[in-house]
């Protein structure tokens, strides 16, 4: 009885979590999988028939989809990693003892808390031709004042990346900062006594101890960047053409704008698969770190 109890107890501890996530996440996931193989009348949930992989083939055929897939990859690497590096930088700054570091932290969090649609719109306003960024750029001799940053396919993508970094690195900053704060100060004191420089302290004490948080932060940021529709939509609408479309915004388009729930479900499944596969290695690392040391 004791043994049964001790095996079952952890499951009881997880039970409420299991229930709620089963209900809200697992069931919709399975249902989406089911619907991705059906043809559904546009604009409604009326099922017209079973067409197997038809939806998937239709989607993969679409150039816009292929570009959005590529963009998601680019955004994932060029966006998530720099975002976390920036976050690391910011977190270490906030970790220092100086007056006002709480205010800086709150500011950063406030930047994150602006509703994404409004934030996207503000960035868009800044990036319009004759807007602030191009004007400053013209003073620096980088471009004309009326240069259309968002109208140039490659530059538009870069601006989406930068806006994403801006939006999601505060998230990583908080995680990393929380992690930095678990480092016992005695270690820092000891290092100081031994005469270590800031750089050495950072490299040999801080970094290894927060490695676990670093992985988590990268995972979270990649996930959020991949999944966020609002920012991209408010900023570029997926344009010019389909140059800044990412998988998430493409899914949103098919599902909510075209109202095709069959193809939309198929796109959703592809998005989920991509998310899982691209974060697979990271997942492996993290679970090893989590349980490896015991």
């Amino acid at each position: 009885m004791r043994k049964l109890y001790s095996i079952l107890t952890p499951f009881f501890y997880c039970l409420p979590a299991f229930i709620i996530t089963f209900f809200i996440l697992l069931v919709p996931l399975l249902n989406t999988l089911y619907r991705s193989f059906l043809k559904i009348r546009i604009g409604s949930t009326e099922i017209l028939g079973f067409i197997g992989l038809g939806n998937y083939i239709n989607i993969i055929d679409d150039t816009a989809f292929r570009v959005s897939f590529l963009n998601s990859l680019i955004l994932g690497f060029a966006g998530a990693l720099p975002a976390v590096l920036v976050a690391l930088f910011v977190a270490s700054v906030c970790n220092q003892q100086f007056r006002g570091n709480r205010i800086i932290l709150s500011l950063i969090v406030a930047a994150w808390a602006i509703p994404p649609i409004v934030a996207g719109r503000v960035w868009k306003i800044l990036l319009l031709p004759n807007g602030l960024v191009s004007t400053v750029g013209s003073y620096l001799g980088l471009c004309q004042r009326s240069y259309s940053i968002l109208g140039d396919p490659s530059v538009a993508l870069i601006s989406v990346i930068i806006a994403s970094i801006w939006k999601f690195s505060p998230f990583a900053t908080l995680i990393l900062l929380g992690g930095m704060r678990t480092v016992p100060p005695e270690l820092y004191e000891a290092a100081k006594i031994d005469g270590a420089t800031f750089y050495k302290t950072f490299r040999y004490i801080t970094l290894p101890l927060i490695a676990r948080y670093f992985n988590i932060a990268v995972l979270f940021v990649s996930m959020y960047i991949a999944a966020t529709v609002d920012l991209v939509y408010a900023l570029t609408g997926g344009g010019p053409g389909y140059a800044t479309e990412i998988l998430a915004s493409y899914t949103y388009k098919v599902y909510f704008l075209q109202q095709d729930f069959g193809r939309g479900s198929a796109t959703s499944i592809i998005l989920i698969l991509w998310a899982l596969i691209s974060m697979g290695p990271l997942i492996y690392f993290i679970s090893k770190q989590m349980f490896g040391r015991e």
Binding site: S6, I7, T9, P10, Y13, C14, P16, A17, I24, L25, V27, P28, T32, R35, V93, C94, F98, N101, I104, L105, S106, L107, V109, A110, W112, A113, I114, P115, P116, V118, V122, L126, G131, L132, W166, F171, L174, I175, G178, R181, T182, T197, F198, I216, F220, M223, A226, D230, A248, T251, Y255, F256, S265, L271, I272, A275, S287, M290, F291, E294
Partner: protein
């Protein structure tokens, strides 16, 4: 000499951070103070329209959504921490938990589901249950959406609680539950603070799912409320910006309050290894 360089570098770093992060935020404030015609111009406002803040606060379109967001966030966040803590603890520390890695990966995978992929079906589900466009429906949905994330973050922080403390308490005969409540939770307070504020912000700034599962002022949160400032024929972006700034204030306040716990951290109390 070294100290001087350090201070200078720190100062420069802070300046960069402020410009980059605070820049667009500052611009939003600027837009909220400009006359509507100047929203797209890059100069300073010709007149500062502070009374717009009164107008937006008193407008009947905005305050209901603001209150809704409060209700939702303050109901959901504690619920999430309540549900996630035991699960996180079980994953982090229960040696006898056989399927531990599996459950861990399961929650991780569930956490990675893009909301856009499942929002549609959640709509169907809530409609079927009669919870469409109600606050309990939104609370239920958000709890489900963000609990895996909380479990994740918390289990990481719980693991950094040194084992000796736990073992000491265990040997003194305390049950798992009381170890959780009396030992782990207080020690990992910064971790909990981080998780709380992250959940709060995620809930507060959620747009897509909220949009799909609400319709009227019954349950519409403030992220949608900011977009309701339609003037005569078009969206008045100056008013939207004002609403957005007002919507950010609670988050600012909470961030500031909990930052104390994050920054103070686990000082001096823990000995490792």
């Amino acid at each position: 000499m070294r100290i001087g360089l350090y201070n200078i570098l720190l100062f420069i770093a802070v300046v960069f951070i402020v410009i980059f992060y605070f820049g667009p935020f500052f611009w939003t404030i600027l837009i909220s103070l400009k006359p509507e015609e100047e929203v797209y111009s890059i100069g300073l406002p010709s007149k500062f329209m502070f009374d717009r803040y009164y107008k937006v606060l008193l407008s009947d379109r905005f305050i209901p959504t603001f209150l809704n967001s409060f209700k939702i966030a303050f109901a959901t966040t504690p619920l999430i921490v309540l549900i996630a803590s035991p699960a996180a603890y079980a994953i982090a520390r229960f040696k006898e938990f056989r399927g531990r890695t599996g459950v861990f990966i399961l929650f991780l995978v569930l956490m990675l589901l893009p909301h856009v992929a499942i929002a549609g079906y959640i709509y169907n589900m809530l409609t079927g249950l009669g919870l469409y466009d109600t606050i309990p429906g939104v609370v239920l949905t958000y709890t489900g959406l963000f609990t895996p994330f909380a479990i994740w973050t918390l289990s990481s922080y719980f693991r950094s609680v040194p084992k000796e403390i736990e073992e000491a308490a265990f040997m003194d005969g305390a049950s798992r539950l009381s170890i959780l409540t009396r030992v782990i939770l207080p020690i990992s307070l910064p971790g909990i603070a981080v998780t709380t504020i992250l959940c709060f912000i995620l809930i507060w700034s959620e747009f897509l799912v909220a949009f799909t599962i609400t319709l009227t002022y019954n349950a519409r949160p403030v992220t949608i409320g900011t977009l309701l400032f339609v003037g005569l024929y078009e969206l008045q972006w100056s008013e939207v910006a004002t609403a957005a700034i007002i919507a950010t204030i609670p988050v600012l306040v909470i961030a500031f309050l909990t930052s104390k716990y994050i920054i103070r951290g686990l000082i001096a109390a823990v000995i490792r290894g």
